[in-house]
């Protein structure tokens, strides 16, 4: 297949990555630690500046000990699932790496899940062990009713921090915030589990790396749950090859970073695939220091991290860049050492990207991907960014726009984006029919409508499901939201289609105002200046905030559901 985009790769970028750099993630962790040793690998930074750091060697040793605990003490076998429910913090890399070294499968669980949501994910993935942060452990009795998890390991936000700050953070959480409740299920604390594992290892019965020797590149490394567009939560089976290759593909595209010298800000949760592959695995492999932010909300929680560390690289989503751009402290002292930022997870709006570059003097490189592709499919090459474009496919990846029949559309026309490459998942866990729908002849169907420029840059038009049909014309909400984002009186917006007798569907915009004096007429008048008549929102509703996902993606489907309830209530009344 022809790949016109390779001409935009930098001189050092390989078009094809033939060789898998490591057989599995456990080997990647150990090898990297042997190179960078005592250098700082992970630093957790709390809103008040209290922090803790683990070196590459420490993370390596602790994760090896945890692997020994899981296999020898808890009795897990290769391929058993281990669920991890934790916000960003020092336990995250230790546990994730420990699971890989044990030859087990990591199941990332959103810490903010309700007991009911947790129970569903446990019932589907059937983990043999769970590592959970104490703040969320009160949901356990309820969540474990369906599937019983024999081994529960409890950790805490301040784990592995120096003792005085750890004590203060613990006391504040317990007595002031009252976010820590007694854990009502049998459990062991993470440091105790690590100590028990280390003791077993020291008995000399197990050699380092003995578990990973039998882990093949195509064994499952992670079950990464995704709602997709259908709302049914499915576990994408990502193999060691998927994640290692996607990390290598993405890092190949990122030029200008130096091994062992970068400081990366990880404000996005690592249980999300974007920060998981790019920050946790990618920047660890690069020998960078990862600054972990347990909770980036409110955004002032990031202030100390920017003050105390020379951040050279950060990843974020549109909402994060937009939010930081209106924080006074950030505008006053934008990070001086930043080389660039990368955006993913949702469409990066032009106005947001431009404002960010104006403030920091450095570009935001937009990438594109989904959980099912580990996640990166395309990325904007540094120095060759094209606005409103998701960039060009990463090495070793084919991308095409397909029509309804699965045939490539003519260049420049819109079709469903499909991707083929080593990062495409093995399939959905225990859901062969869903897998068949998502992967056709080796091509992953993304459900996104896109176009390709003549030279190979791709542009997302919108989600297939979100398209609005106004009197036979296709209206893509992204375009309207992009237009609204450029209005100085608007913070953010979401656009959906609502049933309308005359035109089939009508465009409706939910708007969060910056300027309280802004009226519906103002918004419509502004849109009329920039958009064709049928695209102008007929309905405008002002809101204080918009529903968002755990990474800050605006959830149009929630607004649609709300609208449907309203319509049906009106009909029955």
């Amino acid at each position: 297949m022809e790949r016109p985009w390779t001409s935009f790769y930098g001189p050092s970028v390989r078009a094809e990555i033939d060789e898998l750099p490591f057989r599995n993630l456990g080997d990647l962790v150990s090898h990297t630690a042997s190179v960078y040793g005592e250098a700082a690998a992970f630093t957790v930074c709390l809103p008040n500046g209290m922090n803790g750091t683990l070196s590459f060697r420490q993370v390596d040793e602790m994760s090896t000990a945890l692997a020994a605990y899981l296999r020898e003490v808890a009795g897990l076998q290769q391929g058993d699932r281990v669920a991890l429910q934790a916000p960003n913090g020092l336990p995250f890399p230790v546990v994730a790496f420990g699971v890989f070294k044990a030859g087990c499968v990591l199941v990332n669980v959103n810490p903010l899940y309700t007991a009911e949501e947790m129970a569903k994910q446990f019932a589907d993935s059937k983990p043999s062990a769970l590592v959970i942060v104490d703040m969320f452990a009160d949901k356990l009795p309820e969540a474990l009713k369906g599937h019983h998890i024999p081994t529960v390991i409890v950790t805490r936000v301040a784990e592995f921090m120096p003792s005085l700050p750890k004590m203060i953070v613990g006391a504040v959480q317990k007595y002031w915030d009252k976010t820590i409740h007694p854990v009502d299920v049998a459990h062991i604390r993470l440091p105790d589990a690590i100590a028990a594992g280390a003791a077993r290892r020291d008995e000399g019965k197990i050699g380092a790396g003995s578990y990973t020797a039998s882990v093949d590149p195509d064994d499952i490394a992670c079950l990464q749950y995704t709602g997709g567009t259908t709302g049914v939560s499915k576990g994408a089976m990502l193999s060691h090859r998927n994640i290692i290759m996607n990390m290598a593909q993405t890092m190949e595209m990122i030029s200008g970073v130096k091994k062992g010298e970068e400081v990366a800000l990880t404000a996005l949760p690592m249980y999300h695939i974007f920060a998981f592959t790019v920050n946790l695995i990618g920047f660890y492999w690069l020998g960078a220091r990862n600054i972990l932010i347990p909770n980036p909300r409110p955004l002032s929680n990031l202030k100390r991290a920017f003050e105390n560390y020379k951040i050279t690289w950060m990843s974020g989503v549109n909402t994060l860049f937009n939010g930081l751009s209106s924080e006074v402290w950030f505008l006053d002292t934008p990070p001086k050492h930043l080389k660039f930022a990368s955006a993913g997870g949702m469409a990066l709006q032009k106005a947001v990207a431009e404002r960010w570059e104006e403030i920091t003097g450095k570009p935001v490189l937009e990438g594109y991907g989904l959980t099912e592709s580990s996640p990166v499919i395309t990325f904007n090459p540094l120095g060759r960014t094209r606005s409103n474009s998701i960039g060009v496919p990463v090495p070793s990846t084919d991308v095409a726009c397909l029509d309804a029949g699965g045939k490539p559309v003519a260049q420049g026309e819109a079709g469903e984006l499909a991707a083929r490459g080593p990062q495409v998942m093995l399939g959905y866990w225990n859901r062969p029919e869903e897998t068949e729908k998502a992967i056709r002849d080796g091509w992953l169907l993304t459900g996104d409508i896109a176009t390709m420029d003549a030279d190979g840059y791709f542009r997302i038009v919108d989600r297939k499901k979100d398209m609005v049909l106004v009197s036979g014309f296709n209206v893509y909400p992204n375009e309207i939201e992009d237009c609204l984002a450029a209005h100085p009186g608007i913070v953010e917006s979401a656009v959906i289609g609502v049933p309308d007798g005359a035109s089939g569907e009508a465009v409706k915009a939910y708007v969060v105002r910056r300027d309280p004096a802004l009226t519906v007429e103002d918004v419509r008048a502004y849109c009329k200046l920039h958009l064709t008549g049928y695209k102008v929102p007929r309905l405008v509703e002002f809101r204080d905030d918009l529903p968002k996902s755990n990474v800050g993606k605006i959830l149009r489907k929630d607004l649609r559901a709300e609208q449907e309830t309203r319509t049906s209530e009106a009909a029955s009344a």
């Binding site: 500046g49 209290m50 922090n51 949760p269 409110p298 003050e307 939010g323 529903p547 755990n550």
Partner: protein
Amino acid sequence: MVGPLEQAILALMIFVIMLGMGASLTPRDFALALKRPYGLFIGVASQYGFMPFIAFLLAISLPVPDPIKIGILIMGCMPGGTTSNIFTYFSKGNLALSVLMTVNSTVFGVVLIPLVLVLYAGALDLQIPRENIIVTLVLLLVPVAIGMGLRKLNANAGAVTEFLGSLLAVIFILFLIVSWIPRNWDFLTTTTWATYFGAIGLGVFGFAIGYGFATLLKLHPRNARTIALETGIQNGPLAIAIIAFTFSGTEAQSVMAVPALYSLFIVMTSTMLTFWFRRINNAGEQKLPDGLL
């Protein structure tokens, strides 16, 4: 009235507070303050323009003896108190602005306090030993510098110092109030209404004028609340410490009457103001982007 033990506790408390304040700062906070001279101007104007003038008007119009007048005047010329930061937090004000105003008024106070004090004392024909005051103020900057150094050296040490600084400050204040009132009951019952009026009025007029001034400048309600609290809340412990270093014997005790009463009542009036601010704060609150975690 304020015994040696209490003076020692006050001195220690000031040291801890200033240490904690220093630990919350980086040199670029000062650079930023200079970059925004507008904010600096508002702070200096309210702290060294309005407050000393209110104190002067109270001193000249109230029927009180000279030592009480000196007490009112010193109290009015003090920099912002760090408790203003706590009340600003609970009032949903602008915490960064509050900390910065407190720090700026303390740092610039080294020059401005003796200047303003001598000016008004001259107008009232009162004797003020300004050298001692300058020395005390300079000494005050030492813990701030140590705090800043600690943070630079180790971010954890800085954060722990900052945390313990504010925690100890609250504990000290509570301890002093609880232990001081019963032992000074006689003093409280024999003090004249004019002295009470001066001690309480200073803070209350400060709140009102600070709020009016900020509203006049069309500042955001959050910032207006902050400036009101920052203007009215003075550094009471510092006033007591300065008086202890500067005056002696019964004169010192008389001069201290107003700072002591001021420190007691400012906690109550600030609490009431905070409740009112919380009530009127609704739509004006800044929306934080949610859904990031």
